[in-house]
Symmetry: C2
């Protein structure tokens, strides 16, 4: 029952286009996209859950901190299953917190809280859920990045065209904060 | 920042009682409950997400298939991070499907689809999200089962008092199907 479907997101997907249908996806075979150096894999999206929640993974290599950003209407889960990821998050009073998360560790980022992360070991994997009362935002990664049929990390980082930063993030409830500074101890 | 809070669910919890606050929970330190032979650990609940989604784990030992049930208004994710779990699910046309899920594999059970699972290796772990437009149901496990401060599996299975089966499942959108038969090839 790992059938391939044509959907509005992919020519061939293991996620059925119509809601209400049970399905299985083997490891790594969700809808994949490359964005910068990371591989994002969607296993369930808003279509499957009446826009209640989604479920995706982010695979990445040891690298730099990603740009600080927030989601005005989206709550986000970071659950680490491989490697090590340092999560940075600012609360609504401006207090900043960071923690190195190992497999099994969990971080929760509420809406409107600036956050970022830095992958600190090769072959790290984050399991994510990102949704709120306004919907789910799992297709952000392939719209700012690019869909792929490959299974691994991008061979070269996929850098979005500059104009996409002006449109795609807003559509998916993402606000980048280029002037944000992390003052947590490093 | 792994502070302990008093909440309406626990005397001491790493999940803050007020929404909108970022937090971290180290592996295994979510709100724990025993139900039959399994350990359920809640990392985020409806309070954190405006009732949009939750996030929990189920740790269990190799054992029997759990009772078949469905959720009239709840979508459910099964993502395996350790061990092996066989997921059984019936679609809305009555077709039955089963698949042995290994770490990294994913199963999706829509609302109204009868389902069950059997843990087929010791030290298995399922990551779950269970929510729908009507809310989230992460507190089912501790209400049918029992909250615990222990970190491991129950030393003896926790069998709910018979009268709780008459009230708790309905409150949490769970309908057991005692006469259901799995006809998938075994």
């Amino acid at each position: 029952m790992t059938i391939e479907y044509a959907t509005r997101h992919r020519r061939a997907s293991h996620i059925p286009p119509e809601p209400g249908k049970p399905y299985f996806v083997e490891k790594g075979e969700g809808d994949r996209a490359h964005l910068f150096g990371d591989l994002f894999t969607v296993y369930a999206g808003g279509e499957q859950t009446e826009n209640t929640f989604n479920f995706f993974t982010c695979d990445g290599a040891k690298g730099d901190i990603i740009p600080a950003h927030l989601h005005p209407d989206t709550y986000e889960v970071f659950y680490i299953t491989e490697g090590a990821v340092r999560l940075f998050v600012e609360d609504q009073e401006g207090g900043q917190h960071e923690k190195l998360l190992s497999p099994g560790d969990f971080g929760f980022v509420p809406k409107n809280c600036p956050h970022a992360y830095r992958i600190e070991r090769h072959h790290s994997r984050i399991v994510g859920v990102a949704a709120g009362p306004g919907g789910t935002f799992e297709r952000f990664f392939e719209n700012l990045g690019t869909p792929t049929e490959e299974f691994g990390l991008p061979r070269e980082p996929y850098v979005p065209a500059p104009h996409t930063f002006g449109t795609v993030p807003q559509e998916y409830d993402v606000r980048f904060m280029p002037d944000h500074v992390w003052r947590t101890g490093e």
